[in-house]
């Protein structure tokens, strides 16, 4: 694992070095199409824009108002039809359904980099989908494992826990569910897992679903919210039920709300992903590819910052909380 990471770091560093030299030579234009409006993608957009400024490239950003292939595809098609984009950095909203529409971008001469979510099985070397340059995102299965161990520890290794998730067949949250269940099954035989329920990226729905499970399972000990909306909803339901401190919540994604709830003792662990890194590196990769770099890693894992109540005040950790200036 460590060796792989350092190899990636070297490759990325190399890419950056080459990229910064030739940035002026080839003026490229990049389209950025994330999955939906939320703090995670807004921070990623900051990373994209910062890199674009540093490397002197143009970026065109379009954020889908709701999650789904039926919303993302027409926007993607219009970006392709502009005819002036060289690269598209995107978070596919379905790992299978978005293969065709993104292949059409490649056919039109636009190279694709996926961030946060991937296509197929995420292995662009040996897997069923090979055309994207790279996947830059979290190792979500590992994130799920970390969440499982954190939650298991918080509830003392036994009881019933519940997963609230966003959408089926989305590579990121699917990985988190898988990793979570895997660890509980193998390492914590006294813990029973319920769910996942899918809230379709709607925090109100997540609240409702979690509230219903709290009613149904009076002995529920913990909740795992697999992304921004799930964690917000799960946290709100626990607070509404007056069960803060009795039901532990582990939140994927470090929104300000999740950190606030940690202060109140509702959320015991927050996994901060590094969306800024994802956005910044994706632009670097595009610039490097344009400059002729051929050894870009096909998969980059950006890692996590694990936030709990002991380190939340530490500036080195707190910087990973998703903050968008002015919002």
């Amino acid at each position: 694992m460590l060796r792989k990471q350092s190899l990636l770091a070297i490759a990325a560093g190399l890419a950056l070095a080459v990229a910064s030299q030739s940035a002026d030579a080839a003026k490229i234009k990049i389209g950025f199409l994330p999955g939906v409006v939320d703090p995670f993608y807004q921070v990623m957009q900051l990373g994209v824009e910062a890199a674009a400024k540093d490397l002197g490239v143009d970026v065109v950003t379009q954020i889908p108002p709701t999650w789904g292939v039926q919303v993302q595809t027409p926007i993607l098609d219009s970006m392709i039809a502009r005819g002036d984009l060289n690269y598209i950095i995107t978070a596919p909203t379905d790992k299978d359904q978005m293969v065709g529409p993104l292949k059409a971008a490649v056919d039109a001469g636009i190279k694709v980099i996926t961030v946060d979510t991937f296509l197929g099985d995420g292995d662009y070397v040996k897997g069923p989908v090979k055309f994207p340059i790279s996947y830059i995102g979290s190792d979500n299965t590992e994130g799920g494992r970390i969440a499982a161990r954190g939650l298991a520890k918080a509830i003392g290794g036994e009881g019933t826990v519940y997963i609230n998730s966003t959408n089926p067949n989305v590579s990121s949250v699917e990985g988190r569910e898988k990793g979570f269940k895997e660890v509980i099954e193998k390492e914590y035989p006294k813990i029973k897992v319920l769910g996942p329920d899918y809230n379709l990226d709607d925090p109100n729905k997540a609240t409702q679903q979690t509230a219903a499970v709290l009613e149904r399972e009076p002995k529920l000990a913990g909740v795992f919210g697999t992304n921004v909306f799930s964690a917000q909803g799960a946290g709100a339901a626990v607070v509404n039920a007056g069960l803060g401190g009795h039901v532990q919540v582990v939140a994927y994604d470090a929104t300000k709300l999740a950190i606030e709830l940690m202060g109140k003792g509702v959320v015991s662990l927050v996994l901060a992903q590094k969306p800024f890194d994802m956005g910044y590196m994706a632009v670097q990769f595009a610039v490097a590819d344009a400059a002729g770099v051929t050894s870009l890693p096909r998969r980059v894992e950006t890692g996590f910052a694990i936030i709990d109540k002991d380190n939340v005040k530490d500036p080195a950790v707190a910087r990973f909380v998703y903050q968008v200036p002015g919002k």
């Binding site: 379009q62 789904g68 098609d77 502009r82 005819g83 359904q97 978005m98 001469g109 067949n169």
Partner: protein
């Protein structure tokens, strides 16, 4: 929308049209063609603004973009076509979005089953079509029966079935995207009648996707993809049905006045059942086509489309009080929404502006519909009371 029969349809001879002034006639004409004008002006705006804003590197009027717009309107339009009939008959069908999702899941499951049991690709696709549209039609039948026989307001019935259908779609898809479909169906959902490669080494190809790569592939335009052709065929069928047949005349009559339609001997209950079957079926076609396009079935695919499809119908001039509207109006309404989305992306304006513009246009459409009634002297009983 539930005030069935609330409009008095004046017999031909008593219409006060003879008393109209020329300015009234102009206003009337404008009220009929304003959606066309709005679409034309919007396209003109994008044709000028897009190159201007991008420094000349992006153009709105390209073959690729025109085809994009045609592909983008498909789901909204198909949901809107059946809805047009239902709303003309003074009903509403709130279930179409989730019926589309159900059809997408059903067609994917059936297609996969047929192919895995050894059927060749084309028959397997037909099995998918029958399963998707057939399953949707069953929902339409249930809607129609409850509305016409049990006299429950359409709004409530279709709201109810939309939830039921949603649950069924999730359960059938086992809560995930239905994958494992034969790769060949991609061609059905994405290939086209014509391919055009401009410039050197290019040419025009009919029904035969040229095996090119690199620069030639980049320049290739895909013209009239099959789903667009299928949708155009459905548009023609519904135009014929609404404007040339007894079925269409009965639809207007029921929307004009339910009681009057009953008195003239129209089999109202049976007609209403047929209308909801039709509405669900066009949604079923939309679901089937989306399965081909994305080579997978999805229980969430129609969710974001319901409100856009109703907006398209209203913008197109179908009166929510029933009795008035055309198929071509709905096509224009769907085009306005699709052109907006595409144009705003090309201008690099945030997509959210689309909602503000569409919302405004919907309200204008209803205002124009009402002012037309004022000019023509048509009245609503409830408005007069």
């Amino acid at each position: 929308m539930t005030e069935r029969g609330s409009r008095i349809v004046l017999p031909a001879g008593t219409s006060p049209s003879g008393l109209r002034t020329s300015s009234q006639r102009l206003a009337l004409l404008l009220s009929r063609i304003w959606a066309w004008l709005f679409l034309a002006l919007m396209i003109l705006f994008f044709v000028i603004a897009v190159p201007l804003m991008s420094g000349g590197s992006v153009n709105f009027l390209t073959i690729r973009n025109s085809q994009n717009i045609l592909v983008a309107i498909i789901p909204v339009l198909l949901l809107g076509l059946g809805q047009t009939f239902v709303i003309i008959a003074a009903g509403i069908d709130l279930s179409v979005g989730w019926v589309m999702s159900l059809a997408s899941v059903l067609s994917a499951l059936a297609l996969r089953w047929a192919f895995d049991s050894g059927a060749p690709l084309f028959p397997a696709v037909l099995v998918g079509l029958v399963a998707g549209v057939g399953g949707a039609a069953v929902v339409g039948f249930v809607n129609g029966v409850i509305i016409s026989k049990l006299k429950v307001p359409a709004f409530i019935v279709t709201l109810g079935t939309s939830f039921i259908v949603r649950g069924v779609a999730y359960l059938m898809s086992e809560n995930t995207t239905v994958i494992g479909l034969p790769a060949g169906i991609r061609a059905y959902g994405n290939d086209a009648l014509l391919y055009y490669i401009p410039g050197e080494g290019g040419g025009l190809y009919f029904l035969d996707r040229p095996e090119v790569s690199g620069e030639l592939l980049r320049r290739m335009d895909t013209i009239l993809p099959y789903p667009v052709v299928v949708t155009a065929f459905v548009v023609l069928c519904t135009m014929f049905l609404l404007h040339k047949t007894q079925f269409g005349r009965h639809t207007y009559a029921i929307g004009g006045s339910l009681q009057a339609a009953e008195r003239t001997g129209i089999p109202v209950d049976r007609h209403i059942i047929k209308l909801y079957i039709l509405s669900a079926s066009t949604a079923g076609i939309a679901g089937f086509l989306s399965t081909l396009r994305f080579t997978a079935g999805s229980a969430v695919i129609g969710d974001p489309l319901l409100l856009s499809s109703i907006a398209a119908v209203i913008i197109g001039g179908v009166s929510l009080f029933g009795g008035a509207g055309t198929v071509i109006g709905t096509v224009i309404g769907a085009l306005i929404i699709a052109v907006l989305t595409t144009g705003l992306v090309m201008l690099n304006v945030e997509a959210f502006w689309q909602f503000i513009v569409v919302g405004t246009v919907v309200i204008i459409a209803v205002l124009i519909d009402q002012s037309r009634d004022l000019i023509t002297g048509r009245q609503r009983r409830n408005a007069a009371a």
